[in-house]
């Protein structure tokens, strides 16, 4: 494995929820990253953000690691969950709540419901 892959694997295994994104959760630098970070922030999910713009080897490495061409990428308990479109669909359908609940990830159910009400 390359250094980038080793680093990614260690990161996603050591942290329950990791978002590889462009920018940081406080200052996203892409609309898609901003949307996913915004959902997680709003739902009160504790997560680690990794800024792929800060490291070129990670920027390519994360795409190779997941066999997925775009960033953001969300990982829960070491498993790749999806990118912006998938996370949006799963948020609105309630599947994301289920995934977090099954993995004992803290989140605010009322906030998740608010997102769904606003998008109904």
């Amino acid at each position: 494995m390359t250094d980038a892959k080793t680093q990614i694997e260690e990161t996603v295994k050591a942290n329950d929820v990791v978002l590889y994104m462009k920018g940081t959760k406080e200052m996203p630098q892409c609309g898609f990253s901003s949307r996913v970070a915004g959902v997680l922030n709003f739902m009160g999910v504790p997560f680690m953000d990794v800024n792929v713009l800060a490291d070129d080897s990670l920027r390519q490495g994360i795409k190779d690691y997941s066999d997925w061409p775009t960033v953001p990428q969300l990982y829960v308990k070491g498993e790749f969950v999806g990118g912006c479109d998938i996370i949006t669909e799963m948020t609105l359908s309630g599947e994301l709540d289920t995934l977090f609940a099954e993995n004992n990830v803290t989140f605010d159910k009322a906030a998740a419901n608010k997102i769904r009400e606003a998008n109904a």
């Binding site: 898609f32 390519q60 795409k63 066999d67 997925w68 061409p69 775009t70 790749f80 969950v81 999806g82 912006c84 479109d85 998938i86 669909e89 799963m90």
Partner: protein
Amino acid sequence: MAILATDIEALIREEFPNAQIKVQGDDGAHFAAHVVDESFRGKNRVQQQRAVYAALKGKMDGPAGELHALALTTKAPD
């Protein structure tokens, strides 16, 4: 460098000849595609969308990729 909605549809069609495919967007770089295909049955969204990305043969890759953003929705027929 620009890519057309019809080019994207043709690439997806090659891989999924019987799918319902709808591609929207006309700025040459940002698109939305909706693909409904029987082969998606029993696969999760990540698996379905990986198959579509594979059909696009690297058009999404890196800063040199022609396709900057593709909002993808996939499902098996109802």
